[in-house]
Amino acid sequence: MKTLGRVNGIISNIVIAKVDGPVGQNEICHVYCGDIRMMAEVIKVIGDEAYVQVYDSTRGLKIGDKVEFEGHMLEATLAPGLLSRNYDGLQNDLEKMDGLFINRGSITDPIDFDAKWDFKPLAKAGDKVSAGDWLGEVKEQWVMHKIMVPFIMQGNYTVKSVVAAGEYKVTDTIAVVVDADNNEYNITMVQKWPVKQAIRCFSEKPRPSRVMETGVRAIDTFNPLAEGGTGFIPGPFGAGKTVLQHAISKQAEADVIIIVACGERANEVVEIFAEFPELVDPRTGHKLMERTIIICNTSNMPVAAREASVYTGMTIGEYYRSMGLKVLVMADSTSRWAQALREMSNRLEELPGQDAFPMDLSAVISNFYSRAGLVKLNNGEVGSVTFLGTVSPAGGNLKEPVTESTKKAARCFYALSQGRADSKRYPAIDPLESYSKYLEYPEVRSYLDEHIEKNWVDAVYAGKTVMQRGKEANDQINIVGDDGVPVEYHERFWKSELLDSVILQQDAFDDIDANCPIERQKMMYNMVLDICGKSFDLENFEVCSSFFKQLIYTFRQMNYSEWKSEQFESFRAQIEELVNSKLAK
């Protein structure tokens, strides 16, 4: 029997309910406001009073209104048919909702329960299985979607029967398994999992060793993101976080992409809604939307569901990882989620930590980031969840609690700088502040040796040195003046400008330049680094600057040209000629 409660207090979206039976921490309940049924979650229990956060507006709610407790935590529905859907933070399908507005208490099914799927068995009677093991598969878009032993089934089972290949609904039984005591369990294609808990159905979690290509030079070449790795992008507003995230979501080399728009602008999600069904993934030839799931809790949607949205996204990511797929989960922005935690904590009158954020913020963030990773499944296959979050630091100050906490948890740091954004140097990833810890991994080094070229990591560090020396030279020039320093200083500065303009800067709105495959990155980077290693005969700083400006201009044209086209090669020849004309004898 369900525990019932009555509303006994209302402070904004926190409701205090007097209950008549047992309640659990984080248990889901429904609050009735007239005939509107609103979802809520228990966040504190004191005596017979449960404090619940309502995932909707509590306008009009009265003392004595009914509360119904559901006996389970917030769960995600996992089944074929999740791809290309657009959900709110609680996994309601936004497309299925009626009307222009989202009315309170709107609930829609996360999947189509009537759809039939072409099931093929992978397991057979007598197989020993445990949670997460594959029993069969269906084709979802172009992904082979594995039907697994539900994650909540602890212990070992034996397959008693699996249905024959054919068309089934997700709720049809496709297999029967028995436990050691001969209890039978019917397994369907749909299962549920509490979003705040990590899915741990794998045999080991090795260190990431492969690099995930994003087509963004400043990331792939300079600070690569590992497959199964974590990274974050902090930046003040206007620094280009969202444009960068969109570029990555379009271009990243992943099987499934989950975009969590968490407390951000609705128009940014609309852009994805409008573009993704049209855009084609150049790697597979399929529409981008076919591999994408959008979880969208925009800034004006209920605050409490904002927190749920990142967990829902991660849970769906882990589900697809268990099928041996490469998943990229992106959340924009995790600061909004932290702010949601702050609002709650504030209403519960908890003692605040720094900037009024809850004391356990750091633990919550690192706990969440640790759910990403490369995993080896029980059957030896490999799957991964790569997580990339953005952070919106208050006042652009990277010392604020959310940035600091995230820095402890994430392995790649892509700091977007206001200065670069102001001078329209996009993507505004700061070349000196940013880092990728993965460059230090021997596994990653040998992967790059093999997949790009021998000693690639050394070449990357050489480029970083060029940037560092260029900055030092520029500081000198600014202090002493153009005439006050030897022309070598100018040369050093301009070499860093060359590297910056040609490799680090990239035009996300140009059809060709927006996505730079690794082959092309390698060639361009080697060309630039080669020039940076040469010495030139430049009589004074003006000759120096106009020489490099010409060089940068020609390189830019090359970036805008079709790879290895006639035009591309002609710019390359021009560059060679230009370089040779000024080479030191």
Partner: protein, 439 residues
């Protein structure tokens, strides 16, 4: 408001603070309105039978036996075409003392548009100001504030933009507006013969600050009526959102909430987002575009109000006094319109994006040259040319008193490029340079 029959009148207030009262009452809904004596109040907290109300006009002079009557509904606005041409206070009551308007009563601060039902904004709003149209193009359905110091002419610029923007309706939400500015808006709209397109909700500095909290929701409820029901293009002007946020801080402080950065409530981001996110492009052709003003203190954009605003809005426009030309310009470095990519080079001429970027890059070079000059270094020939370019650029394009078409702006930019630079220095895609370069 007169008391209806059978409506319960409470006459015992337990607690009175500066902005709130608490009394024992039953059957009260959250967010409900009440009349306390002759003032309006709203339920903000209910604990058992203890109901806390926020009194908009303040509690000064209230006594523990003041009559309290609950209305049984949250704040409402009556909407109909009769809204046009009228001026209202923060409660939606006619200011000039005219008749209350007839129409359907709607709750203010209503539900959110389903993001899946929104359309991507794609219609350019031309203002004739190059600092906006050329560098930071505004699109219908966008939300964008002016970040301005209190001494800058932001209200004047905003009124200009509103009148040139060719909107079907302009809704003015004035918060803490000085009476002078209020009269200015009234007069300029009247002079333009535009009064019948305008609806105003005004809280002036004479009115209690907490009343301001109702103004944006009132204005946006009216906007939704015209955009959603009538399919009109609505432009909403909100000035000044800093004063709105200050009122939020006052209330949260009196509710004993723990303040976060800059004494602002922890929910500031969500509170502001709820307002700005009402900007929308609807499938029926209607749209709500919000242009707001956020005044800064000493140009500090790291303060919680502009900072949170920047993360919510789709860009921001900075006004700056250009000392070289003595004119007010829209700052090309710090201003940004996030939605411009949706229209520039698509709804405008193909060279627009590249010309815009080249201008800003060269203007940045001029700024560097200026720093050099101020530090007493010699200027190179390029520096000199960049400085001259910057002066022309500022005067002929950036200045807010320029009012021209976008094509003209682009042509002026090309003329300036050719006057001061070589093609290599301007660094624009070759095919465009060949087509548009003014030899």
């Amino acid at each position: 408001m007169t008391t209806r029959a059978f409506q319960k009148v409470y006459t015992k207030i337990d607690n009175i603070t500066k902005a709130t009262i608490t009394l024992r009452a039953t059957g009260v809904g959250n967010d409900e309105l009440a009349t306390v004596g002759d003032r309006l109040a709203q339920v903000v907290k209910i604990m058992g039978d203890k109901v806390t109300l926020q009194v908009f006009a303040g509690t000064e002079g209230l006594t523990t036996d003041t009559e309290v009557v609950f209305h049984g509904a949250p704040p409402m606005l009556r909407v109909s075409d009769a809204l046009a041409g009228r001026f209202f206070n923060a409660y939606g009551e006619p200011l000039e003392g005219g008749e209350m308007i007839e129409g359907e009563a709607r709750e203010i601060g209503g539900p959110t548009v389903n993001p899946y039902r929104r359309l991507q904004p794609s219609e350019l709003i031309a203002t004739g100001i190059a600092g906006i149209d050329l560098n930071n193009t505004i699109v219908s359905g966008q939300k964008i504030p002016f970040f301005a110091d209190p001494d800058q002419p932001y209200n004047v610029v905003m009124a200009d933009v509103a009148l040139r923007a060719k909107a079907d309706k302009i809704i003015l939400g004035g918060m803490g507006l000085t009476n002078d500015d209020f009269l200015y808006f009234k007069q300029i709209f009247e002079n333009a013969g535009a009064l019948d397109r305008i609806v105003s909700f005004v809280n002036t500095t004479d009115n209690p600050p907490v009343e301001r909290l109702l103004v944006p929701d009132m204005a946006l409820t009216a906007a939704e009526y015209f955009a959603v029901d009538k399919g009109e293009k609505v432009l909403v002007l909100l000035t000044d959102m800093t004063l709105y946020a200050d009122a939020l801080a006052i209330v949260s402080n009196r509710m004993d909430q723990i303040p976060s950065k800059d004494s602002m409530p922890g929910s500031l981001y969500s509170d502001l987002a709820k307002i700005y996110e009402k900007a929308v492009q609807l499938p029926n052709g209607g749209s709500i575009t919000i242009i707001a003003v956020t005044t800064l203190s000493g140009g500090d954009i790291t303060h919680a109000i502009p900072d949170n605003t920047g993360y919510i809005t789709e860009g921001q426009l900075f006004l700056r006094n250009d000392t070289d030309t003595g004119k007010v310009i829209v700052d090309p470095f710090r201003s940004l319109s996030r939605l411009k990519q949706l229209v520039i080079g698509k709804k405008t001429r193909e060279d627009h994006p590249q010309v815009m970027n080249a201008c800003v890059r060269l203007y940045a070079d001029a700024a560097n040259a200026k720093t050099k000059q101020e530090n007493g270094f010699d200027l190179s020939d390029y520096d000199e040319r960049a400085l001259n370019f910057a002066r022309d650029y500022s005067e002929k394009l950036l200045s807010i008193d320029v009012n021209i078409e976008i094509e003209q702006m682009l042509d002026i930019a090309w003329t300036l490029f050719a006057k001061y630079f070589s093609k290599g220095e301007v660094s624009i895609k070759q095919e465009l340079a060949e087509k548009y370069w003014k030899a």
